[in-house]
């Protein structure tokens, strides 16, 4: 088979895996309340809002996902070198990472909530721990496995010179940075504050006044995951998938169109700059649309 076609196929699979990984990562951070929006869950009881959200900002999302995916990558790398076949090595590596994830989640929830119990009256809900742990670890497993698959393809087919655990670490940090920058905004700025009218940022004076009631009953992390799966999760996945795909695709275009090494590289760089220019143009279009659609504040 034509090697370029093989690389293109691997890149498409890698982009698809990255898309699923990004989406699962964001939804996991909504069920488990990770990263910056969790500051509001932490602040809630201090503002008199006793809640049933999970509470586990173990560390910044990039660092925690860097840890899980690197742990999975290191185990898989060791097993591959012992001669185990690829799918099983990746699954076992991701499984070990899921246990690490689960252990951190439980200890993080108990530590954070107990710290608020005495002074602010926030109870430790054991049923919240037990009911949320499955979705947290499950989404985390999907995210870690897909990233590990993308990292494996990068090292084995796509010419990445780094070893599997290092690529896994870098992918974990990158997906955490993306999830924290994109999908988490939907959870932090919209879902946690749905009782306020749509169409504004959260003023500092309202921070900590999070929604504690759901569409039906008392709100928990799984309600947030359901809501954010409509926009925040898919867009996070799309971001990571596009980054992996387009960054590799520009290299393949250079490979096909260019002649010698220098011309191939320059074409890849030019294609990259065109992609960035299109993104900048689209960003401006969205900005202009929002200014026209929502307009300025006139009642100051």
């Amino acid at each position: 088979m034509d090697p370029t076609l093989l690389v293109l196929g691997a890149l498409a699979l890698s982009g698809a895996a990255a898309t699923v990984a990004g989406c699962a990562e964001d939804l996991e951070s909504d069920v488990g309340s990770q990263s910056n929006p969790n500051s509001q869950v932490q602040l809630g009881p201090q503002m008199g809002n006793i809640h049933r959200y999970f509470n586990k900002a173990i560390s910044g999302e990039p660092v925690s996902y860097g840890l899980y995916v690197a742990a999975a990558g290191a185990v898989a790398w060791a097993l591959l070198n012992m001669g185990l076949n690829v799918p099983i090595a990746l699954i076992i590596g991701s499984g070990i990472a899921a246990f690490v994830h689960g252990a951190y989640s439980v200890s993080s929830y108990l530590g954070r909530i107990v710290g608020q119990s005495q002074n602010f009256g926030q109870p430790v809900y054991m049923d919240v721990v037990l009911s949320h742990l499955g979705p947290i670890v499950g989404h985390g497993f999907i995210a870690v496995f897909c990233m590990l698959l993308a990292a494996y393809l990068a090292t084995s087919v796509l010419g990445n010179p780094f070893p599997l655990p290092l690529v896994a670490l870098i992918f974990g940090i990158t997906v955490g940075a993306i999830g924290s920058s994109t999908g988490d905004v939907h959870y932090g700025a919209e879902r946690e504050y749905q009782k306020y009218p749509f169409g504004g940022g959260v003023p500092v004076a309202n921070q900590g006044d999070i929604d504690i009631k759901a569409e039906y009953g008392i709100r928990n992390g799984m309600d947030s995951s359901y809501f954010c799966s409509k926009l925040g999760g898919p867009l996070t996945g799309l971001t990571f998938g596009l980054i992996i795909f387009l960054d590799g695709w520009r290299g393949i275009i250079g490979e096909i169109v260019g002649g010698d090494l220098v011309s191939k590289s320059i074409i890849a760089i030019v294609v990259g700059i065109v992609i960035v220019a299109i993104a900048a143009y689209l960003n401006r279009m969205v900005e202009v649309y929002a200014r026209k659609k929502y307009g300025p504040y006139t009642d100051r």
């Binding site: 910056n36 929006p37 509001q40 796509l158 010419g159 990445n160 010179p161 780094f162 290092l166 670490l169 940090i173 990158t174 940075a177 993306i178 924290s180 920058s181 994109t182 999908g183 905004v185 939907h186 932090g188 700025a189 919209e190 946690e192 504050y193 749509f198 169409g199 504004g200 940022g201 959260v202 003023p203 500092v204 309202n206 921070q207 926009l231 867009l235 971001t239 596009l242 980054i243 960054d247 520009r250 090494l261 220098v262 590289s265 890849a268 760089i269 990259g272 700059i273 992609i275 960035v276 993104a279 900048a280 960003n283 969205v286 900005e287 929002a290 200014r291 300025p296 504040y297 100051r300």
Partner: protein, 230 residues
């Protein structure tokens, strides 16, 4: 030995400078309470920088690349810059979609009356009680400049380590640690949030560059020592 040492020192200073350009609003931005991307300075700069580092490493591993050829070095650094810019451009764009369609806010910068690039008025679009939200054009362009510098800095550090004779694996791990070190130094200098080159905090950039210059020089001496011992 002297050239890689100079490259590592410069790379550290460039990485530090790059972080100051990236528009990050930290935790408040995740609630659309401040302008910029809703994550931490170090995290976002590292996410973009590492994508650039991998793009540079893939280019450096191509057959026929000679690390002593200036044209090849320029290609590696530009590859790193473009890889990093793609990551940050798409993250800012898709984040912007969530701010506009998921939260319903208008991108608006708090640190300038008018966007210096588009000329759009900003203040009247800011939700009362907040310090702006989302990623207006000036922040987007500033972020792209920061990403390009981050990719160049990460790529330069990687090249220097390769020139010292480290394998790709070891050079990659040291470059990741080196990037984090300088990004954290920049983060201390910024102190939480920054909107980009139009933010008054940006004027503190010389302090950050000097700090990273010294720290990177020291790191460079240690790394050169490691390469002699290896």
């Amino acid at each position: 030995m002297a050239i890689p040492l100079v490259e590592i020192t410069l790379a550290g200073a460039i990485i530090n400078a790059s972080v100051h350009f990236v528009p990050v609003g930290g935790a408040p931005a995740a609630m659309a309470t401040s302008t910029g991307v809703g994550t931490g300075t170090t995290q976002l700069a590292a996410g973009a920088g590492f994508t650039g580092l991998m793009a540079a490493a893939i280019m450096a591993s191509q057959k026929g690349i000679d690390l002593s050829n200036p044209i090849h070095l320029a290609i590696i650094l530009l590859s790193g810059a473009v890889g990093s810019m793609i990551m940050l451009a798409l993250t800012m764009l898709l984040g912007q979609l969530i701010y506009v369609f998921g939260v319903g806010v208008v991108p608006a910068a708090d640190k300038c009356e008018k966007d210096p690039i588009t000329g759009d008025y900003q203040k009247s679009y800011i939700t009362p009680g907040t310090t702006g939200h989302a990623v207006p054009t000036v922040c987007f362009i500033s972020g792209l400049m920061g990403a390009a510098l981050g990719g160049i800095g990460g790529g330069l550090a990687y090249i220097a380590l390769k020139q010292l004779g480290f394998t790709s694996e070891v050079a990659g791990i040291i470059a990741v640690g080196f990037f984090f070190m300088n990004a954290v130094l920049a983060s201390y200098n910024i102190g939480g949030t920054i909107e980009g080159f139009h933010d008054p905090k940006f004027k503190k950039i010389p302090n950050g560059i000097i700090a990273s210059f010294i720290a990177s020089l020291l790191t460079g001496v240690i790394v050169v020592g490691m390469s002699i011992g290896a």
